[in-house]
Structure formats: C-alpha cells, structure tokens
C-alpha cells in the first residue's frame, strides 16, 4: 500500500521566545512513523508532547527541524503540498456566513465559487448543515460550527487530513455525536487522516492504528493496531477487546511516565 506520510528520525528543538526556559526546548526527538493511504491514524500523547508541532511540520508551515518528512512522496520543505487541516478552534470568521466560511479555501485558491456552491450541496447535506447556509457562526451550535469547520477542512483540497484535537473543546455528548458522525463520513469518503488527541477512547474508537507518544521531548513509543471492523459502532467500546486495547495504550503511556 502507498505510504502517504513518512516521518523518519524527526527532531526539533524549540528556541522561540514564549516557551524558552534556557538554551532551547527539545520538542520532538527521533520521531519515526508512517501513515498509509486511506488509513486513519491517531497520535495520542500527553499535552505538550509535541503532537501539534508535529502536524505543523507535516503541513510544511514550520521548517526548523532535523530529519525527514515525506508527504505524498514529496518534501514539504521544498514545495507547498496542500493539506486539509483543522484546529480545536473552529476559526470561522464571525462576519461571514456559514457558506462563505466553508467556501473560503476555494475562494483563496481562486476556484470557481459558483460551481463549487453547486458541487458542495450534497456535502452540506451530509455534514448536517443544510438550511443554515446564510447563518453567521454565532447563530450555530458548537457542534454545527465544528462540522462547518470540518467541511471547510475537507474542501482544502489535500490528500491528507491533519486534525488537531478537533473535538477537544466540545462537551462530552456533542463530542460523541461528532465522533460518530466523523467516522461515518470518513468511512464513506476515505481520506488519509492523522488525528491528534489526548482522549484514549476517542483514539481507539476512530482509528485503524493508534500511535502513542511520550512526554516532552516527544517520541513515538508504540503503535497499536485497532482491529475492529468498519463501520464502527458505539457498542464496541463495551467489547472486551476495547478494554484490552485501552490497557495496552495505558501501559505504553505509563511506561513513558516511568522512564521520566
């Protein structure tokens, strides 16, 4: 199978002014992993382990690292490779309607907005946003805003989706609904996803594979293959196998703690 993301021996030392407490801060050290085409991989680790930094590096927006990144077979250091990206904050512009927020990536790459408007109609439906096209973000619920942000992310025209804790700011129930809904949409459209989270249940429920990271400086300490079939259903979190995966992940997380 084709490898969409290849990270080899990636290290990064942060010397920015905000977090600098001395000679520089090791953020990532010797990170290596691969993500295959159409695979859903979660990056799980304690906060501050460099997960978000890792995504920024993959997107090619920070270049100050050692090691090698290959995204869709190319080096993001030399060439801008479009990716779909989403943050915890929805980053919708309050002065734009939901629709014009969603169409922003097309507007920026000077695509045909009218054509796109027609084309995304089924997607709007699928993302549960129909009828709200002309609403401003503040008139939408938290879940809807996040779905709009995700639709915008989807329209960013990249082969790889980098999702940085997209549901972390939502309440438990909304988060669960969003996970159910994300997984059903993903199972239909299948893109390569790298999903950053610090929620173990979320990682197991969504992913084909969970990569566990240690605390700072972050490195990948283990990879857990999640062999539940698709489509995923909520009930699986009650299965004994789910607990086994969870224990395996907890052990990996615990081991990193013992190492410190």
């Amino acid at each position: 199978m084709e490898k969409k993301i290849i990270i080899s021996n990636l290290s990064m030392v942060y010397t920015g002014p905000e977090e600098d407490d001395g000679s520089g801060l090791g953020v990532l050290s010797g990170v290596s992993f691969e993500v295959y085409d159409n695979e859903f991989v979660s990056l799980l680790g304690p906060s501050g382990c460099g997960k978000s930094t890792l995504l920024r590096l993959i997107a090619g927006l920070e270049q100050d690292y050692e090691g090698e990144i290959l995204l869709c077979g190319e080096n993001p250091r030399h060439k801008r490779i479009p990716v779909c990206y989403m943050l915890q904050k929805d980053c919708l512009m309050p002065w734009r309607t939901m629709l014009s927020n969603v169409l922003l990536p097309i507007e920026i790459r000077k695509g045909d907005l009218e054509k796109a408007c027609e084309e995304i109609k089924p997607l709007i439906q699928e993302f549960g946003l129909q009828g709200f096209e002309n609403y401003k973000p503040r008139q939408l619920s938290g879940g809807m805003r996040q779905r709009a942000a995700l639709l915008r992310t989807y329209l960013m025209d990249g082969e790889v989706m980098l999702l940085d804790e997209p549901f972390a700011a939502l309440d438990e129930i909304t988060r669960m609904q969003m996970q159910d809904w994300l997984i059903s949409v993903w199972e239909k459209h299948r893109k390569t996803v790298l999903f950053v989270t610090h929620d173990i249940d979320e990682a197991i429920f969504l992913s084909d594979r969970v990569l566990v990271m240690s605390g700072r400086p972050g490195t990948v300490t283990g990879s857990v293959q999640i062999d539940f079939g698709r489509p995923r259903v909520r009930d699986m979190i009650l299965a004994p196998r789910f607990s086994e995966y969870k224990k395996e992940i907890l052990d990996l997380l615990g081991r990193t703690k013992a190492d410190l």
């Binding site: 990716v83 943050l87 980053c91 002065w95 922003l104 990536p105 920026i108």
Partner: protein, 262 residues
C-alpha cells in the same frame, strides 16, 4: 429565539433606565445652576443662568446659525480628509513594519505640538481662509483614526492566520480576509473620537484669525463681556459635536451589524 427576545426586553428596560438616570442628573444640575444664579444675584456677565443662555441662543439665532455653518463646514471637510488619510496610513502601518517604524513616532510627536502654536503659523502660511482651518481639523482628527485602526490591525488571531496559511493565503490575503474586518470596530472607535474633536479643532483654528465661525463669535462675545452669548456658543459646540458623534455611531451600528460583529 424566545430567550433572546426576553433578554431583548430586559435590555430595553435597562436602556430606558440608563437613559433616565443621566437625564435626571443633568436636569438637577441645570436647576441648581439657575437657582444659585438667582439666589446669589450673580451678574449675567460673570455667570449667566441657563435661562439667560437660552435667551441669548434665541436672540442671536441668525448670527449663530451662519457662524455654526461655517464651523461645521470646516469640521466636516477636515474630518472627511482625516478619515481618508487615517485609513490609508492605518493600513500602511498595519501592514508594513517599516512604515510603522518610520511614521508612528512622527505622528506621536505631531500630537504633542500645541495647536495654539500651529494655528497662527498656518495663518501666516495659508492666510485666514478656509484651508488653514481644515488643516488644523485634519491634524486633530487624523491621529485617533490612524492609531486605533493600526492598533487593531496589529491584533492577530494566531489560529486564524495559521488556518489561512494552510489554505495557501499569503500575508496580503490574510490581511484582507481576516485582519481588516477584525479591525473595523477599532476603526470606528477612532472615528467617534475624531468626530467629537473635529468641531473643537475648527473652533480653535478660528480663534487665531477668521472672518466667520463659532470660534470668532466666541472671541467677540468674550471681549465684549457678552457672557451669555459666549455660553450659547459653547452650547452649540457641544450639540454639534454630539450630533457628529451620534451620526458616526449610527453608521457604525449599520455597518458592524451588517457584517455581524458582536
């Protein structure tokens, strides 16, 4: 929807109360003033009472009207110029670091030069006509517009900028798409300050030398000890400034509501 309606009603009641309190206080101050002047039999040329001022407003109405129109014209021309210049320089300083470094200190220093010095200088350079007055108003109004706009253009939403970069937007694109709209409320607060300053700027410029205007009327009233007329003049200055302020506020509400700022 229901909820917002009920809070809307509460807001209405609150706004009513917010309106009544200052009105009551203002009325009592005016009454107290009138009583003081009456009881202590203060001479009109020392401190006229509100009634004297109203009487002066009425008896001088024709003269006050022509003078007001002149001052208003100077203020509006200066204000409009200052707004255009302020927005242009605000954009320049908000976008280019070098422009900020080069211009900001000059603008700050320009604010520390007393107008009272500049006004006669402009009279020497540009005469006693319309132009020097407009320049003074521009000088007074430009600064708050340019500075508030620049400041708000510099407030960056890191996450938003990041997402825009991911989408392939360059610096200019994200400036237009995110930073300018976000800086509009700041621009309007600058405009409101400038609007209130504009009339005052025009009046000060007239003090030095002019044929017509509320400033000239004021100096004439002062030198002839027509204190009630002087106060009437001040009342007009206050009213005109407030009207301009309210107008800007109205435009602000229209525009910011339209683009939906909270």
């Amino acid at each position: 929807m229901k909820k917002s309606e009920s809070t809307g009603q509460q807001n209405k009641r609150g706004r009513l109360r917010d309106g009544i309190v200052p009105a009551v206080i203002m009325t009592s101050v005016v009454l107290l003033w009138q009583l003081t002047v009456g009881i202590f039999e203060i001479e009109t040329f020392i401190l006229p009472g509100p009634v004297d001022i109203i009487r002066a407003l009425y008896s001088e109405r024709a003269l006050l009207l022509t003078h007001s129109l002149v001052t208003l014209g100077e203020a509006l021309a200066g204000f409009a110029t200052a707004v255009i210049l302020g927005i242009c320089f605000g954009l320049l300083m908000g976008y280019f670091r070098w422009a900020r470094a080069a211009l900001y200190p000059i603008f700050v220093v320009s604010q520390t030069i007393p107008l009272i010095v500049l006004a006669p200088l402009f009279a020497i350079w540009f005469g006693f006509g319309f132009l020097p007055k407009v320049i003074i108003v521009v000088l007074v109004c430009f600064f708050p517009v340019a500075v508030t706009f620049t400041q708000d253009l510099l407030k960056i939403d890191e996450d938003m900028e990041f997402i825009l970069r991911v989408m392939g937007a360059g610096r200019w694109k994200s400036f237009v798409l995110a930073r300018i709209p976000r800086a509009l409320p700041g621009l309007f607060s600058g405009l409101k300050i400038a609007a209130t300053y504009s009339i005052m700027g025009a009046v000060i410029s007239e003090w030095i030398g002019a044929k017509e205007g509320l400033g000239i009327f004021m100096t004439r009233a002062m030198t002839s000890f027509r204190t009630a007329a002087l106060f009437a003049d001040v009342v007009l200055i206050v009213v005109l400034s407030l009207i301009l302020y309210k107008l800007i506020e109205l435009v602000e509400k229209k525009i910011l509501n339209h683009i939906d700022f909270v």
